[in-house]
């Protein structure tokens, strides 16, 4: 097919073999082989007075534990303890880098896959499981750790992030120069969501009001079975320019680069310089969810190629080769992961089903007369069954 000169790129140019490693625009600070490399605009800076090796060991620990949350939850689904699980395997660096760059006052609007960001926000990962087990629809208080509830409808939360950021502006919490006050908001979404109207509207509103928001897109190459080239014919980060704010592509499997780029974008937002789009270029190593079968639509050789870019292995190699962590450290992290696994397994199985009548709670700030009548009617109905004694008021463990 002949391209007319001057009318944009050929898809083969954008997604062809030369671009499959992310292309020349990819910001990388730690190679898949575990080598530190320089970048002309971004450098890894854990902060004044903070030990760099200690920070990187912390990232390693975060990623190992995040992966363990994922593998445990997947196993719990296989054992019938969860109805479904959205896997993040392969996206640990993108999420830990983005999560660790946050300050406490920053606010995160996640999709349903941000288990690693949740971990960085200090959320007990057990709380993530309730939604997937079917015992709640989000069990944490979003305001407690400034981490919103998981959002299932693709991209809807990006608008919430922009509105929240507009609220931050109105509170005067932008551009004051006070490190504990200036606030940024992060909107997480994926490559599939980039096609949604809401995401594009979020870009427009954020640009129009110069909102302090960072759009963090984990391009994991797949929206269930649809490859990235079904969503876009230019690299996603380049879309930002069309909306009037900067976009960058970072190696999403490089925790140092992801951290550095996110930190810089958050700082831009906090200073009042407006939105940024970060495309974290990564790969969904697992399935979309535990109900998905990726062997139907993608080649195992692609997966094998991405295995060589594993986000955890490269940090491990770096730490070992440079003598920044000893065997005792790695053993301790492994031990901690095992303990986390026990916590998740036992905690998940012990989660009670909600009481039947709890479905009437919180529809409104106060129960309406209509719902009171429905609830009382159903309670009376349940009471006509012998076995229901007590079950209407207390959850029964499975």
């Amino acid at each position: 097919m002949t391209q007319h000169p001057g009318f944009g790129p050929d898809l083969a140019e954008v997604f062809g073999p030369a671009a499959q490693d992310g292309g020349p625009e990819l910001i990388q600070l730690l190679t898949p082989e575990g080598e530190r490399v320089e970048h002309h605009d971004f450098r890894f800076d854990p902060g004044a007075g903070v030990d760099e090796a200690e920070t990187i060991r912390g990232f390693y620990r975060d990623m190992v534990l995040t992966r363990r949350i994922d593998t445990e939850a997947t196993a719990l689904q296989r054992h019938g303890e969860l109805g479904i699980w959205a896997q993040l395997l392969g996206q640990e660096a993108a999420q830990v880098g983005a999560g660790r760059a946050l300050r406490p006052q920053d606010y995160v609007f996640p999709t349903y896959r941000e288990h690693g960001v949740a971990w960085c926000r200090g959320l007990d990962p057990l709380k993530l499981l309730g939604l997937f087990r079917g015992v709640d629809q989000g069990s944490w208080d979003p305001a407690e750790r400034n981490f919103g509830l998981y959002t299932i409808v693709i991209g809807a939360q990006t608008l919430h992030a922009v509105g929240y950021a507009m609220g931050v502006q109105r509170d005067g919490a932008v551009g004051t120069g006070e490190p504990d006050r200036d606030t940024a908001v992060v909107a997480h979404f994926g490559d599939g969501a980039s096609s949604q109207g809401d995401v594009n509207e979020a870009f427009i509103f954020a640009a129009s009001y110069n909102a302090p928001v960072v759009f963090f897109c984990q391009n994991n190459q797949w929206a269930i079975s649809e490859p990235i080239e079904r969503q876009t014919r230019i690299p996603l980060y380049q879309r930002a320019l069309g909306f009037g704010f900067p976009g960058v592509r970072v190696d999403g499997n490089d925790v140092l680069a992801t951290y550095a780029v996110t930190q810089a974008a958050l700082q831009r937002a906090r200073e009042g310089q407006g939105p940024t789009l970060i495309e974290a270029y990564t790969y969904r190593m697992g399935a979309h969810t535990t109900t998905d079968d990726p062997t139907r639509y993608r080649l195992s050789e692609d997966v094998e190629r991405w295995k060589l870019r594993d986000p955890i292995a490269r940090v491990q190699v770096y730490l070992k080769r440079n003598g920044l962590a000893d065997e005792a450290f790695f053993a301790a992290v492994a031990q901690e992961a095992d303990e986390l696994g026990v916590h998740l397994r036992e905690g998940c199985k012990a989660m009670p089903d909600p009481a039947p009548l709890s479905m009437f709670d919180h529809v409104y700030s106060e129960l309406t007369d209509e719902l009171t009548a429905q609830r009382d009617g159903y309670a009376a109905y349940l009471d006509t069954f012998e076995v229901s004694a007590g079950s209407t008021t207390e959850g029964a463990a499975r």
């Binding site: 919430h160 950021a165 109105r170 529809v363």
Partner: protein, 327 residues
């Protein structure tokens, strides 16, 4: 302001102003709500007095308006968003139904969603398509939303303030045909009725007309005409569509034995169907006739030159009353 006679449009404007004065967290957002004051001038002068940070002209994207308002509410604000016309609310449908309506529920009451979505609704203004819709049943069908409709200036003034003060999301329907129609006297010294309460607006003994928004006037006119013929019709302004306040309705229908619902929305699965079902369940032995419905036909809203054929009017209401008496 006591004694001032104002239109519905002015009353809503005054109510919004009062709410913004009373609570600095109240924000107004929508298309053209700033300098222009809205295409119906409901927000006239608010931006001048409260500034661009509190009266926000938005990009032309309804999902964006409602979706960003969700974020503002999560940050502690009380956004009041204007959807310019009823037919333009659908791009925001997902945000309203999946996000706004469910946030409080999903968060187990931790995240409140004190948002008002103002929608000028109904027909009769000779507009092009998508400007005369009555989408109330779609929202009344959605748990988590509250839906109210004002019918007159006094209610408009109070109800908008009450909706803004409500911690739940409220779909606030304004009968656009009535915006500049009739004037009424506002008396700020009198305490308003509760927001989620229906009201008998005309006493009668022979049959009950149930109406809301633009059809309250239609029903009152029909009742006046019926009185000339010796029939005494009671008229109830429902005011709240979700939750419904059925107590005054049951009380009335038990007395009159007959009920006719009047709304502009399509009859099929409209509010009238729900009202009819509930009246039948609760007042079965008092009914002299089935509950009848007068509403828009189950067609798309027609071209405006024939919209008066589509909209319930005095004669169609009285025809339904006659049919009720025919049983």
């Amino acid at each position: 302001m006591s004694g001032q006679k104002v239109t519905l449009a002015k009353a809503l404007n005054m109510g919004l102003r009062k709410a913004m004065e009373d609570d600095p967290k109240v924000l107004v957002m929508g298309e053209d709500v700033g300098k222009l004051g809205g295409v119906f001038r409901i927000t006239d002068g608010l931006q001048k007095d409260f500034g661009e940070d509190r009266v926000i002209d938005s990009p032309l994207a309804e999902s964006g308006i409602v979706g960003t308002a969700v974020g503002m509410a999560l940050r502690g604000y009380r956004p009041v968003v204007e959807i310019q016309f009823d037919g333009f609310v659908y791009p925001a449908y997902d945000q309203i139904v999946c996000q706004v309506a469910k946030m409080h529920y999903r968060s187990q009451g931790r995240s409140k969603m004190p948002m008002v979505i103002r929608i000028p609704f109904g027909g009769g203004i000779g507009a092009v398509e998508h400007h005369s819709e009555s989408p109330e049943a779609q929202f009344a069908h959605t748990p988590g939303l509250k839906v109210v409709a004002c019918s007159n200036p006094v209610d408009g003034y109070w109800m908008i303030q009450q909706a803004i003060a409500c911690d739940d999301p409220v779909i606030f329907l304004e009968p656009k045909r009535q915006y500049h129609a009739d004037k009424a006297e506002l008396d700020d010294s009198e305490a308003p009725e509760p927001l989620f309460a229906s009201r008998v607006v005309r006493r009668g003994a022979d049959a009950t007309l149930l109406a809301y928004g633009p059809t309250v006037k239609t029903a009152l006119n029909a009742a006046a005409a019926a009185a000339d013929e010796g029939r005494s019709l009671e008229v109830i302004d429902l005011r709240t569509l979700s939750p419904l306040d059925m107590a005054p309705v049951y009380e009335s229908v038990r007395r009159t034995g007959r009920a006719v619902v009047v709304h502009e929305a399509h009859v099929n699965l409209g509010l009238g169907a729900e009202l009819s079902a509930r009246i039948t369940e609760e007042c079965f032995y008092s009914l002299e006739a089935p509950v009848l419905r007068v509403g828009g036909f189950d067609t798309p809203y027609p071209p405006s030159r024939i919209e008066e054929e589509f909209l319930p009017d005095l004669d169609r209401v009285l025809d339904a009353v006659d049919r009720s008496f025919g049983f």
